[in-house]
């Protein structure tokens, strides 16, 4: 049986699917009775979504044109 501190320490790895089978079972057993740690899991999932939905800007057309010009110049030199 693992403690809340141990469960919380491994939550993100658990969500990332990089814990081994024994750790996964121990965490799920803990989550089966600990409401507070269930809240931690839900919040960790929200934080993952939060990071994934803050994408960086797309490549602007002028920057693309400059980078393509660099590539063309390199090819001309070869």
């Amino acid at each position: 049986m693992i403690t809340c501190a141990e469960a919380v320490r491994q939550l993100w790895d658990y969500l990332d699917g990089i814990v081994d089978e024994t750790q996964r079972e121990a965490i799920e057993e803990h989550l089966g009775f600990c409401r507070r740690c269930c809240g931690e899991v839900e919040f960790a999932e929200e934080l993952r979504r939060f990071l994934a939905t803050h994408p960086e800007a797309d490549l602007p057309d002028d920057a693309r044109a400059r980078l393509v010009a660099t590539l063309e110049q390199l090819e001309k030199q070869s």
Binding site: I18, E40, L51, H54, D58, T70, L71, E72, L74, E75
Partner: protein, 200 residues
Amino acid sequence: MVRADEPDGHAARQRGGFQALAEGELPRLYRVARGLVGDEAEDAVQDALLKGYRSYGQLEDPAAAPAWLTAILVNGCRDRMRAQARQPKLVELDEVEEFSLFRRIADEDPFPYSDSLHLDFLQQFGAEDVRAVLAGLPERYRVPLVLVYCEGYHVKEVAFFLDVPLGTMLARLHRGRKLFERRLWDYAQEYGLLQEGAKR
């Protein structure tokens, strides 16, 4: 004016091969660079193109080219980032290990009338705020965090980019998440996001 050494090897003989590869990768490379070095993204990509062009001839497996070029970019970005980020104090790194943003929000209860306290906390952050918090992380933690959670790379790919053992990468990712949580809280306090949110 672009200057580069002549590439050698079999790939160099495929005229236009590097250009075709790199041009298709530009949007992805730029997005990764934006996440890592912000406004220096275009310069970072340009540096990666020059370095990549010089060593393209040594690449034996064409299928590995996108990951290879990404690794060049990421390592160039790391050089740029090392001088920028605020280094955490040792005591901060010790503290973050025990820090839980979930518990801190619940304990401090910044929005007393909210029935979705934790979500409301995250919703105070705009894209610029998130970028600022990430930009303040030391590069050894920011790189895994951005590549895995913002860009969706697998942890093994990131370990390859950084040329470190998987265990080392996972340890940095763990520390990076904790430091990110801690800095989100500090940022919200420093910039008054909690007071503003509580008024709504």
